[in-house]
């Protein structure tokens, strides 16, 4: 159980406090309800580029990191298709520095053209380092547009192509900021050695005067719940092993079937005792490795099966084996012991993830952005209430052959 209290400022900023005096630090986790799904299709990669710009100075403070480092703090941020998250960790006595810095960049950025130029090239190097200059690095650039037709999940967070980042203008930056980086579009979690009363006073003082923005109404193109027919793409690249990626559209995070689908992916491919590993790596020796997992997206997400084939096995042969295994799961079902196993695995994962106060803070922020902070404490109960019959229905529904985008990622033929 993660204990918390919460309040909302007049400008709409939601604040959650989690007291934990076993640590000597305080975490300020500010999650903005904006991700790459909120981008325009011709200006992708923006939410992430923005994450970089947020460190390039704000209205009253020329540089973000230096004053934070001076008080012993550190920080980082990440961008996903759904949210952009900034966290700062400071020695507890210096909590106010974190409020000062974090509130000033919500008030307004400096919009310094030089910062835009430098961060543009940093992001382009990041694009190359993480996505282009790595074996298999670009699979999400290929897979997303294959799995999604309408929803903005069809482009990757880093962006659809480098040119979008190259073309971003200061006007784009400003309008994105005032549209999404407003208090009423954010959740602040303060966790660690801190008291609720102290947080309330500091939040009022530093964030209270920031004007609310025009409410952002998210109206994204909706994907069909399942794909109408299977999709295939075969690409060749300079990689040593052939690989198969299969993406199945699955229910959104708040759907009552979400957790059961998550457990279904565990039955398929979480750990050495999972079906995919047992059958295709151990028994049939077709794959070097294979696993299944979910993307955990807010909107309709993907249940993924990903594996690298052994050298002498063709992608067609590997794919057929996966499909046969799924067919068996759909027709013969899942045993009670198997369900209990994945429930125990999920419970352990949940518990281990709560050890770090930063993870608890991020969990509270996610739940609040999703609409209900209490979700964070309902995980175990949701895991335990999954029924065998529900998983069997989902095995037929989600793992249907039609509902699958398959990417064959092959070695270049000489």
């Amino acid at each position: 159980m993660i204990a918390y209290s919460k309040f909302t400022l007049d400008n709409g900023l939601r604040v959650v406090v989690h007291e934990d005096d076993s640590v000597e630090v305080v975490v300020l986790n500010l999650m903005y309800d904006v991700g790459s799904r909120d981008e325009q299709e011709d200006k992708t990669g923006f939410a992430h580029l923005f994450e970089h710009l947020m460190f390039g100075g704000s209205k009253n403070i020329p540089i973000f990191d230096k004053p934070l480092e001076r008080v012993g703090g550190n920080n980082n941020a990440f961008t996903s298709p759904d949210v952009t998250n900034y966290y700062t960790v400071v020695p507890y006595q210096n909590i106010e520095t974190a409020f000062w810095l974090e509130s000033d960049r919500m008030l307004s950025l400096s919009f310094d053209p030089r910062v835009l130029e430098v961060q543009r090239s940093v992001v382009i190097e990041e694009f190359k380092q993480m996505y282009l200059n790595q074996p298999y690095g670009d699979i999400w650039l290929k897979l997303r547009p294959l799995a999604y037709e309408k929803h903005p999940y069809k482009w990757a967070t880093i962006g659809k192509e480098i040119s979008h980042i190259e073309q971003a203008t200061m006007e784009d930056v400003k309008s994105f900021f005032f549209k999404h980086y407003r208090p009423n579009n954010a959740v602040l979690v303060v966790a660690g050695k801190v008291k609720q009363t102290q947080v309330r006073a500091l939040a009022e003082k530093w964030f209270g005067e920031i004007p609310a923005g025009k409410p952002y109404v998210r109206n994204l193109p909706k994907e069909n719940t399942t794909m109408p027919k299977p999709r295939f793409l075969r690409v060749e690249a300079d990689v040593p092993l052939d690989a198969i990626y299969k993406a199945y559209l699955m229910p959104s995070q708040l759907d009552p079937d979400f957790t059961a689908t998550d457990l279904l992916s565990d039955v398929l491919g979480n750990g050495e005792s999972s079906r995919l590993h047992q059958k295709l790596v151990k028994e049939q020796e077709l794959f070097n490795n294979i696993s299944a997992y979910i993307t955990g997206s807010f909107d309709e997400g993907l249940l993924m099966i990903a594996g690298k084939l052994n050298e002498d096995v063709s992608v067609e042969q590997g794919n057929k084996a996966i499909e046969e295994l799924i067919f068996e799961l759909q027709t013969k079902g899942i045993s009670k012991e198997e369900l209990e196993k994945v429930q125990n695995q999920a419970e352990a994962t949940d518990l281990f993830s709560q050890v770090q106060v930063l993870n608890r803070a991020i969990g509270l922020a996610y739940a609040t952005v999703l609409g209900d902070t209490e979700i964070v404490n309902q995980n175990i109960q949701r895991i335990r209430s999954v029924k065998l019959s529900q998983m069997q229905r989902l095995a037929r529904q989600v793992l249907k052959a039609d509902n699958c985008a398959t990417l064959f990622y092959c070695r270049k033929t000489q």
């Binding site: 020695p91 979480n270 005792s273 209990e340 695995q345 419970e347 352990a348």
Partner: protein
């Protein structure tokens, strides 16, 4: 009230504090047991530490294979049975062979420990390394090696260590032939000599309640050791690496978009009086976001997504290394800027302002790195591996605060020269 947003709020530096002290007991079999008990979540990591690693075998793959295959079959259970048993309780093993030490860990929710500890002990007494599992691991190992060798950063790191350490095992790279050469007998031999019935120490980390302590005493504490003397690693292999000539190596890869750089050298031992001051100097150079290298190469010039300088401490050697991935046609510019920053540290004293920032940053990041008992135990690893005093970290903050700009410049002039440089891509 009007807020003065241009002015930073007042703050106070982190004060010196005493590092966590694990509770130490000795189990019935003589194992030293270090208990790190401070976790609200009811889970535990039980880690066994063996004073044996990659440097103690002739082939770089033998130790890794032996340790990672401990869970691939025992006298009574095959690999699948073991995997099923673990997964059934949501538990997992972490089996890892380091250079000089290896660790065998079990992570579990406390209430399932009674079902898991007997199996855990079985890995240490009855592993059999089945031929079929060895073939599978070998195949997987070879294929993963193929993938890694395509990465510039992997190759650069490998060349760099090879250049620093020469023929010493620290510089030995893993080659396909090592994997092909392994036989079951090699693993059994390594196991019987170094793991099976061999002495180990224990770290117990997490929510360590009475019940867990009893369980550990009744299982792990009762494992018997034989001929501990015969099983100690050979001192000869632990010799310090010979100094190697500095080198500059460029391996071009035509299709690469980026080049991977490694610049560095071997440095003084952790017990040397200059060691800690050198670490502070390294932090200024490239150990945090505000560092000279990060500010210059990334924030001013946009040459890279990230550049870091770090100090690595092995059992019988230490080295520093600067690393970055940069656009291929910028690689020379990036190297020039790195050397310029290094030279500046030798030529000019660090300003009072920068010194204040780095001191407070280091103290604060030390403090925040201790925010879970698992990370505290991780920090304690260094004390254990290097056989340092338990009080090693007690004056950490105070020691940082004593450093002066003059002293840093002196250390810079003594050590920041004669670098080995490796570029791949």
């Amino acid at each position: 009230m009007i807020l003065k947003r241009q002015e930073a709020p007042s703050f106070s530096p982190v004060e010196n504090f005493e590092f966590f002290k694990p509770q130490k007991t000795v189990l019935a079999n003589g194992s030293k047991c270090y208990i790190f008990d401070a976790c609200e979540q009811e889970l535990t990591q039980i880690q066994l530490l063996f004073p044996v690693g990659k440097v103690h075998a002739q082939n770089s793959a033998i130790a890794s294979f032996t340790i990672s295959m401990l869970s691939q079959g025992t006298a009574t259970k095959d690999a699948d049975t073991i995997a099923q048993h673990l997964d059934r309780y949501g538990a997992y093993f972490e089996l890892s062979a380091g250079n000089n030490f290896s660790t065998v860990s079990l992570y579990s929710i406390n209430r399932f420990l009674p079902e898991l500890l007997p199996l855990f002990c079985e890995l240490l007494s009855d592993s059999i390394f089945p031929e079929t599992e060895l073939e599978l691991s070998r195949k997987r190992g070879l294929q993963n090696l193929l993938i890694n060798e395509q990465k510039n950063s992997y190759k650069a790191q490998q060349f760099f260590l090879e250049t620093l350490f020469g023929t010493h095992p620290y510089g030995r790279k893993l080659e396909a032939n090592d994997l092909r050469a392994i036989e079951r007998a090699d693993l059994l031999n390594f196991y019987q000599n170094n793991v099976q019935n061999a002495p180990f120490d224990v770290f117990v980390v997490g929510h360590v309640d009475d019940n867990t302590r009893h369980l550990i005493s009744d299982t792990i504490g009762k494992m018997t050791f034989v001929q501990p003397d015969a099983k100690l690693p050979k001192e000869a292999i632990l010799a310090k690496p010979e100094p190697q000539p500095m080198q500059k190596i460029y391996q071009e890869r035509e299709k690469a978009m980026q080049s991977s750089l490694r610049i560095g050298k071997t440095i003084m031992d952790i017990r040397h009086p200059d060691y800690f001051d050198f670490k502070i100097l390294n932090t200024i150079l490239g150990g945090y976001f505000g560092s000279r290298l990060m500010q210059n190469l990334r924030e001013e010039k946009g040459l890279t997504y990230g550049v870091h300088s770090r100090v690595a401490t092995l059992k019988s050697a230490s080295y520093m290394q600067i690393g970055a991935e940069v656009r291929k046609d910028n690689r020379n510019e990036a190297c020039d800027e790195i050397y310029k920053e290094v030279q500046k540290l030798c030529d000019e004293p660090v300003t009072a302002d920068e010194l204040e920032i780095v001191k407070n940053y280091m103290a604060g990041s030390f403090l925040s790195s201790l925010s879970s008992i698992f990370s505290i135990a991780g920090r304690y690893n260094l004390i254990y591996y290097q056989a340092l005093e338990d009080t090693h970290y007690d004056n950490y903050v105070q020691t940082i605060n004593q450093i002066t700009a003059e002293r840093l410049q002196e250390v810079a002039n003594r050590y920041l020269k004669d670098f080995t440089e490796v570029i791949v891509g």
